[in-house]
């Protein structure tokens, strides 16, 4: 018998002038939780690898070489563009506005 929380259409409590902010902030907090869960997991992973002698922590923590940074650049630019693209308000398919 599972009675796991369902989404129910009850009156929503809102606290901001624009309820969009209530909902958007919910997304932010859910994301922040995910970020922390990932961060915590990564730290655990690093610790386990280090304990197993697989990871050189100094190499991981040190400033990346120019070569590594160049290698990262394209990936980062793509990440940034995908993040920011919505702000332009451009459409990606034809259709009525």
């Amino acid at each position: 018998m599972s009675l796991a929380p369902e989404l129910v259409d009850l009156a929503e409590q809102t606290f901001f002038e624009d309820p969009a902010l209530d909902r958007a902030f919910g997304v932010v907090m859910a994301l922040a939780t995910e970020v922390y869960v990932l961060r915590n997991r990564q730290q655990a992973l690093e610790r386990l690898l280090e304990e197993a002698g697989v990871l050189d922590r100094a190499a991981l923590d040190g400033e990346p070489s120019d070569q590594e940074r160049r290698a990262n650049a394209d990936d980062r630019a793509e990440f940034t563009r995908a993040l920011m693209i919505s702000l332009l308000g451009k459409q990606q398919s034809q259709g009525a506005a």
Partner: protein, 356 residues
């Protein structure tokens, strides 16, 4: 969900709550104090406080976080509910057959569940703390972090309340804990008064199971968990020399509160004591505004009406004597009269039944 992710997420949510408690609440209080510094008389109603700070950005975030951190804690992706739901089989196996030890646990599947209890999922526990068989485990886990400042010392609060009773001198021999939940309030009583018979009653079978299970391995004292409505118990008149409750009263509508005191007085023996720990002492309009807001945001529909009730008059009307209302210090480093950080307005409501 894996255990590490659950713990990480819950710890994070608790840290955000701690920030809310120790940074956002004080900022809100400071803002209110600044705004009223030049007033000849400070506001004396919750509505006046609302008019002053109710639409500030700070307050809006304060309110949002109060509601939604609790939601995330229970129902979010890493919430208590989905986590325990995933462990349902092993959790239920741990209490399987527990009602066979009838002296420890008596359930009553036919017990009518009152309307006020059915219609709200109290403190945003999805399904309430009684519908689902795992609800007792969910509630137990959740109660470990209701007050971020106390951390591991949360147990202290219940222990401190028991110590209050113990320090009064006389040792009770038959104790009733009304609305015992999963026994967090009961345990310090049966551990402190080892010779006493302790009866613990609640509406919620899933909670009672957890309490009985715990008592099964941690005490040899006589403690019995029974599924019963505290407003209509089946005990004879004058049965107990101590009747107690912890965080029960604020869950009841006003008429039920009246009934609760009636029933508690009836089953109390002449010369016996009653001590209830609840949220009541709300000393000013700002505190009241915070309290009413908490009630609304945390699905505690009767917390505010209870704050309006005068327990002294109520207990006097039931014929009780030596009545005292005592702001309660739930931890070493809090000031029950004016704490810089958010806290519940813990209060002991105490009275005695006149000796025969």
């Amino acid at each position: 969900m894996d255990d590490r992710s659950f713990i990480a997420a819950q710890d994070f949510i608790l840290d955000v709550k701690r920030f809310w408690t120790t940074e956002i609440y004080p900022a809100l209080k400071a803002d209110y104090e600044n705004r009223t510094a030049s007033f000849e008389s400070v506001p004396d109603t919750s509505e006046e406080v609302e008019a002053l700070i109710g639409s500030t950005t700070l307050y809006r975030f304060y309110a949002w976080l109060e509601r939604h951190l609790q939601r995330l804690k229970y129902s979010g992706r890493y919430g208590l509910y989905p986590y325990h739901d995933g462990k349902r089989r092993e959790l239920m196996a741990s209490v399987a057959g527990i009602e066979i030890a009838a002296d420890r646990l008596t359930l009553n599947p036919d017990l009518p569940i009152p309307e006020y209890y059915r219609k709200v999922d109290i403190h945003q526990h999805p399904g309430g703390i009684w519908r689902d068989e795992i609800a007792g485990f969910v509630y137990e886990r959740g109660a470990r972090s209701t007050t971020p400042l106390m951390g591991k010392a949360h147990k202290d609060l219940h222990q401190r309340f028991t110590s209050f009773v113990a320090n009064q001198g006389t040792t009770p021999s038959h104790i009733l804990d009304m609305g015992c939940g999963f026994g967090k309030s009961t345990r310090p009583f049966y551990e402190t008064f080892k010779e006493a018979i302790v009866d613990a009653i609640d509406l919620s079978a899933p909670c009672l199971k957890v309490g009985a299970h715990e008592a099964g391995y941690c005490t040899k004292s006589t403690v019995r968990y029974r599924q019963m409505d505290a407003l209509t118990t089946d005990y004879d008149d004058n049965t107990f020399d101590l009747v107690t409750s912890t965080m029960l009263i604020h869950e009841l509508p006003p008429a039920e509160i009246n009934q609760l005191f009636q029933e508690a007085t009836r089953v109390l023996a002449p010369g016996g004591r009653m001590a209830h720990l609840d949220f009541h002492h709300v000393p000013n309009a700002f505190a009241r505004f915070i309290h009413d807001g908490h009630a609304r945001r945390n699905n505690e529909p009767f917390m505010s009406s209870w704050a309006d009730i005068d327990p002294v008059a109520l207990m006097a009307e039931k014929g009780l004597i030596n009545i005292e209302i005592i702001p309660f210090q739930e931890a070493d480093d809090v000031d029950p009269l004016n704490n810089p950080f958010w806290r519940f307005p813990w209060t002991i409501v105490y009275g005695e039944k006149a000796p025969a």
